[in-house]
Symmetry: C2
Subunit: 142 residues, 2 copies
Amino acid sequence: MLTIGSLANKTGTKVQTIRYYEQIGLMPEPGRTEGGQRRYGDDELDRLAFIRHARQLGFSLEAIRELLDLSDHPHRPCLEADAIARRQLKQVEQRLARLEALRTELQRMVHECSGGQTADCRVLEVLRDHSECLTEHDEIGA
Amino acid sequence: MLTIGSLANKTGTKVQTIRYYEQIGLMPEPGRTEGGQRRYGDDELDRLAFIRHARQLGFSLEAIRELLDLSDHPHRPCLEADAIARRQLKQVEQRLARLEALRTELQRMVHECSGGQTADCRVLEVLRDHSECLTEHDEIGA
DNA sequence: GTACACCCTCAAGCTACTAGAGGTTCAACC
DNA sequence: GGTTGAACCTCTAGTAGCTTGAGGGTGTAC
């Protein structure tokens, strides 16, 4: 039996985050001691590890909710889980493309800074004038 | 003289976003018509374009506030602006590294999905067991 | 039995917006 | 001059995914 604190430690989660997951129904309501403190078993540890891992992979809480639901029904076809992962992959690839463009632009800004006064600072100048951009970047940063 | 709507159009911003920037002090309070509607000039257009461009490059509103402040004092040394841009570049590079790891992992998940039942779905299995990961990914998605 | 680390709930705060309600103004057209 | 309708106004609340804080109770080791 784990306290919320040790569950947090084992999964690299904050205590409050676990309570938050419970509040939004992603984690089940656990058993309690007589004094009202939460106690967790291995099922909850596994579930939380799953959630954290999926979060690290960039899945939204809603996507994770779907995945957990699928995982609770092992005889359904797995096409849905696959679709969710594909959607996620697509998003990751889009973000990568955007970030690469931003890196190029920022590198250029930094390399061209001569270290003089702000009046002739390339960093500020580039920001002032979008037309100087070498790259397309049209979505607000991930 | 521009209405808030045409300023929004010219900069690819939503009207509410402009009012929000004014509210948090990033945009100045503009002049008003007798009836109380906002009217903007070229200075404000430039300032908003600067903000939006910096946002597209992933700068936080706080970083932009600093950059605008530097930009308002053209005789200060530009080291600070350079430092902000470098900080930003570093963050972008970290995010890129993370996203590349995630892409690898997601690609593997998707490629190994056999299309059977969720019980033997690779997608769910990989999420269940972090130790199967080929890559390091230890920070929560962008 | 007492110290103190850990737990509890509830409410509010964070970033960067977005959406909606309910009402007013502007400019064009007749 | 009157009317229409798009665009404007303020204010409040909502979004994701947590984090922080206040004010108080519990569990366990010494």
